[in-house]
């Protein structure tokens, strides 16, 4: 109940923020208030999925460094990587945030009479899902650097700071920043592109292009992620006796 209230409260504050902005302007770089609210709900849904299933990618370093839990899995017939990443999966963790996100999205679509096609729902949610998986792989890769460098808290704090950008439309920002947020840390696929696809601002060709791009990024980071894990495991030194 507390989670529900907190999530709800924060979402309302954010929507109020946008309402204040849009009380001064009718369009913000070609985005309407309804579209920005849908962007907020996509951010909520994405974060909810991350908190429910993918949080292990963020905390893998502590388990690697501390050694206790990694050694427990290395001596058992289980996939140690899978066990570390998904041991703490808690579907209840982000459930309230997910429900609020979906609710706000449905309300915004109804209230602002936004025309949605079934295909765009599918593609936008696929882009959202693959985008979050890609970001998780990036987090995980950085975490596995702790096999070589020790703690990676500083680097993680730097990475996590970009997560706030999921609350802003990023398609009309400076080109170099947009490039970084597409090919470096793919924040643009976490809310901006899914929103553009859902509200029909991107045609089917461009939507599939976006899906292909994020899938390519996912494959590349998956290869890097697996490579870091295997090399790191060879390098692993455990601790003490």
């Amino acid at each position: 109940m507390l989670n529900l209230c907190l999530s709800g409260f924060l979402t309302i504050i954010w929507i109020l923020f946008w309402m204040v902005i849009f009380s001064r302007v009718s369009l913000l770089a070609d985005w309407t208030l309804g579209e920005v609210i849908i962007l907020t709900s996509f951010s909520n849904i994405g974060w909810a999925l991350y908190n429910m299933f993918l949080e292990g990618f963020y905390s893998a370093s502590d388990k690697v460094i501390s050694g206790d839990r990694l050694e427990r899995y290395l001596t058992k017939p289980v996939n140690a990587l899978f066990a570390i990443l998904f041991e703490d999966v808690n579907p209840l963790n982000g459930l309230t945030q997910l429900l609020i996100g979906v609710f706000i999205m449905i309300l915004a679509v109804q209230f602002y009479q936004i025309n949605i096609k079934p295909m765009s729902i599918l593609i936008s949610f696929l882009v959202l899902l693959i985008g979050w998986l890609t970001l998780s792989l990036i987090y995980g890769t950085v975490q596995f650097l702790s096999f070589w460098t020790g703690r990676t808290k500083g680097v993680m704090r730097f990475l996590v700071a970009f997560d706030e950008y999921t609350l802003y439309p990023l398609d009309k920002i400076d080109r170099s920043v947009k490039f970084f947020l597409t090919w470096g840390i793919p924040i643009i696929f976490l809310s901006t592109h899914p929103t553009l696809i859902l509200v029909g601002k991107l045609d089917i060709y461009n939507s599939l292009n976006v899906l292909l791009t994020v899938s390519l990024l996912f494959v590349v980071w998956l290869i890097i992620f697996q490579f870091c894990w295997h090399m790191g495991l060879k390098r692993y030194e455990s601790y003490g006796g």
Binding site: D68, E71, R72, L74, T75, K76, P77, V78, A80, L233, K234, Y236, E237, S238, G240, G241
Partner: protein
């Protein structure tokens, strides 16, 4: 699921280590000044430390082997290589026919691992739930699982502990449950790294009886790394002693202590020395193991000197408060061995 060990001379080899070398990188700090720290940050330097320097040994199926060594000798590193946690820098290891660091999955079915200082159980969950999770991991049937629980309840007495969350168990209780978790799948090889650390004498005795029973009933090969010499004396017929990453002894316990059966240790406590020169001349006949204010420990070779005469002579030149004579314990043997290594190196 299990894999066959190789055999040499008709005897099956459960554990094989060949020229194992393990190197760790240790960061080196240039200095404490700001310039040194910046230099360290921009261009960190490391030195390579060889923890294992070519360890080779074979352990036959059904043996209980003690793996001894001083702190930092490389005992835990060897155990971690054999259990698949670490990859050696060079060399080769095999456990029941599997290379542990390459075939972790297969190796896990053959081995049970117990680290005294690390936990196998999940802290906030009852013991039975942890064991059920291991049942699923190892693919045990319900009957096999119940049979194992009944076995552990009889031998380790864990039946009353099964429904208690792990965090609420005492150390002795937790270790018994940890052993059950390590052995739930009836492994053919059991690695024990300091299993009795922090336990009281009763629990230690119970654990030793359990390990002996396990070896007798299930023919489990036991690889025991421990600082507790009583564990080794009670359990092992063969010991491997390592120091600074090299094996300094590999043979039977009896042979190791046999060399010292002619040695006796005299422990003497005194309040006052009457004749300093006579005292010194008697002490010089023996090897001084320990010399403190008002007490000393002397080593006497009974073939060369008479213990009775030495004690009698000491009593004439100092006011003796307490005297005891005993043979070499394994701990004393190991201490002498380490000291000799220290002198040679």
């Amino acid at each position: 699921m299990s894999f066959s060990p190789c055999s040499i001379g008709g005897m099956s080899i459960a554990i094989k280590a060949q020229d194992l070398v393990k190197q760790f990188e240790v960061p080196v700090r240039a200095g404490e000044s700001l310039r040194d720290r910046l230099k360290n940050f921009l261009k960190p330097s490391c030195k390579k430390v060889n923890v294992l320097n070519g360890i080779s040994f074979n352990v036959r199926e059904g043996e209980i082997v003690g793996y001894l060594g001083p702190n930092g000798a490389g005992k835990s590193t060897t155990v971690k290589i054999l259990t698949g946690i670490l990859t050696p820098t060079s060399g080769y290891a095999e456990v029941m026919g599997c290379i542990p660091y390459k075939q972790r999955y297969e190796n896990a079915y053959n081995c049970g691992v117990f680290f005294g200082q690390r936990s196998l159980l999940w802290f906030h969950v009852p013991v039975i739930d942890c064991l059920k999770l291991y049942k699923e991991i190892y693919g045990l049937t319900k009957d096999e699982f119940n049979e194992r629980i009944a076995f552990f309840s009889e031998i380790l007495g864990i039946d009353k502990l099964l429904h208690i969350p792990v965090r609420k168990l005492s150390l002795g209780q937790r270790i018994r449950c940890e052993l059950a978790a390590a052995l739930i799948h009836k492994p053919r090889v059991l690695f024990l790294d300091e299993p009795t650390i922090g336990l009281d004498v009763i629990v230690k005795e119970r654990l030793r009886e359990f390990i002996l029973k396990l070896n007798e009933v299930e023919k489990t090969t036991v690889f025991l790394s421990s600082h507790d010499m009583l564990d080794v004396e009670h359990l092992c017929k063969r010991v491997i002693i390592i120091d600074k990453g090299r094996i300094i002894y590999d043979g039977s316990l009896e042979e190791l202590t046999h060399e010292y059966t002619d040695q006796k240790i005299i422990y003497i406590e005194y309040s006052k020395i009457y004749d300093q020169s006579k005292f010194k001349s008697i002490i010089d006949l023996c090897e001084i193991l320990e010399m403190k204010d008002y007490c000393c420990k002397l080593l006497v070779n009974v073939r060369e000197s008479s213990v009775t005469e030495i004690v009698r002579d000491l009593m004439t030149c100092c006011s003796v408060r307490d005297v005891s004579v005993h043979g070499y314990s394994l701990e004393d043997v190991i201490r002498v061995l380490y000291r000799k290594r220290g002198v040679e190196s």
